[in-house]
Symmetry: D5
Subunit: 95 residues, 10 copies
């Protein structure tokens, strides 16, 4: 099942640079792990903001929460979550 | 270039049913035309709302405006538009 | 899977009284049908408002949308939808 | 009498990990105590957020305040409170 | 039990003047009936707005909803409802 | 003249406990002094929030400001202030 | 006593032109009457909007409400009202 | 002096098509007149919305209001107005 | 040219008392200097808030910015700025 | 392609003055570099606020993000981004 999650990140400006790099690296690893596992189907940067859209494809609401709350930057992220369903006008791309 | 557009539709409750069906049909045709032309890369229904997320892939800002303002329901739609760029953590799915 | 949906209803003040009664009756039938089918697990009136909280228990995001958009009053309702998961502090009531 | 309370938690990102664990544990004990006493009739996690919906069943407005303000994390929680009443469309599940 | 209800009234500017007077008169009768019954403990006009604060003293959440939704102008009123409890700093005026 | 003031209090979670108790005690003394002087005509706790409604009865706008800005917790309080006047539907309780 | 009132006017675009002119003329007469009576101490147009700031100098909250609710365009106006008091830094211009 | 004005246009969906075309044509003429007179220094469409940014270069606040309120579509437009001044980092392009 | 500026001040609650007094004194001197120079035409306290309305009368947008950004408390102030023009209904007080 | 970006800057009031000057200087150099490279087509100060409008002219959404996120003050800036296209009423200034 699909969810569109918009994440706004607010790292403190005075965060220790080493800690910051660690966080960024951990976030990349974590995110790429979820992408390879197919849990994150797509991710886009919002141009001009420290924000992103993340399309989740998960098996349950519990799994969505586990994926999102496990983000290394979760404490710095504000999320908007919307459940998606198939749009009646969507063209079947595989047919 | 990519844009994430969230559309909230507000068809008047007292819209003539025939006019309503015509609008819905015209919207479907228009939307599917843009999908087949690759201008709409994906479209999802927001569950529980008369709303959708629409991922546009266009050649210019002018083309985005032409696509969106050409929607048969445009007069009834409120849009939020965000320009997207590649996310640094995105996994290259084709490699 | 569970969703908490808050619905704010805005029936026009000048709605024809007969049409209004029909809508209210149709809404009751529809809502009770979903309750009996277990799709609406609980429903509460927000005191002092023409609004309610509705706890949906559905099989998919598509089914949620079908249930909500099928409401006879859907054209007059503004919804807020949040996906729920089990709370880590929840006591297991059946054990 | 019933209240729907949505709680958004904002633990500081730099909270001492030991203090954090203590808080989480104290919150669990407190919440489960209220659940066992029947004061919290249900609790759900909002998927993708450090937030929850909590359905309170209390004897008075004073008791609601006592329950909520006694939460170990109260200083970090922002609440929205809505008084509930029986919905006219609710099906009597016990009959 | 006490509730503070702020009501913002939006009568249509083109409402038939006779209908308007009827509504205003019916609202006065209804409001004064609730005041005399002790259900409305106090009511104040918000200066400079077609709005008021209404302090309800009711026996249940159901009664609050019955009182508010029974207002002749209810279809034109937007409400904010907050449950009140005794303030720890309140001086006991009768002792 | 009457004012309805809603106060939302945000004491820092890491406030020194001794300082906190001092503030709470000073606030109680100050508030009760204003109540005894008739400047605060009524005060209610908003159930489930660190907030209150305070009905001021003062002689001037200057006096209102003096009363509110003199609150020991003023630096931690966000206020909404609305001037009240007699409601045309109010029943004269003393006649 | 002083109040700053911001008024946002929303005349319907399809208002009958004769009715519109009548309203505008009635508003002018009413406003100038209040200015000459000293009840409106100053009035400014917000550049680029159908809006204004109006500084009222009235004897009571009741008088403020009478002045504002008596505006011929009151049904089309949304107001924000703030009670003013002397600023501690204000220079006494008459001394 | 410069102003940045964002205009959001809300033409009614059921506007008579002839009236609509007249409005659009009148708006174009009016806007181009102001551009040729140098009062509108630049104008951009917001992609995906019936909205625009308009950079005004006027001689007074009165002239700004005259220009904006004279728009044939003014009754359908909601504006946000911000006064601009030279930015300290701006490079002098003519030197 | 006139501007209405609403300023909301947020001095940190833990500001060093000496620094606070210095700031308040510097703000008073600065404000009174602008008043004597005729740049601030009027200033009012918003009753019940650490906020004010300030009516500026300046020669340019640059001067407005210079005046406002030069406030000793500028780093703690959030501003809303609206350009004013003569209101068509304003009575000429000197004639 | 053009973007209108509104930037609101929130430098901490207690920022070390030397660090502050360095930031301001770095921001100036960076901004002027982008202006000379034609990436920032125009920049204006919002009068009365620590804010600006910045008109970007970039080759891609990626470049926009690179320009904005590279701002030395980026961690202290909140942005609103809108994609622009040619306005149908725009007069061709070069013809």
């Amino acid at each position: 099942m699909l969810f569109m999650v918009r994440m706004q990140v607010s790292l403190p400006a005075d965060l220790d640079p080493v800690r910051r790099e660690e966080l960024v690296a951990a976030e990349r690893d974590y995110s790429q792990g979820l992408q390879r596992a197919g849990k994150i189907a797509a991710i886009w940067r919002v141009s001009g903001q420290f924000a992103n859209y993340c399309l989740f494809d998960v098996d349950s609401h519990e799994e969505l929460h586990e994926c999102v709350s496990g983000l290394p930057m979760f404490a710095f992220i504000s999320t908007q979550v919307e459940a998606l369903s198939r749009h009646p006008n969507a063209v079947d791309r595989d047919s």
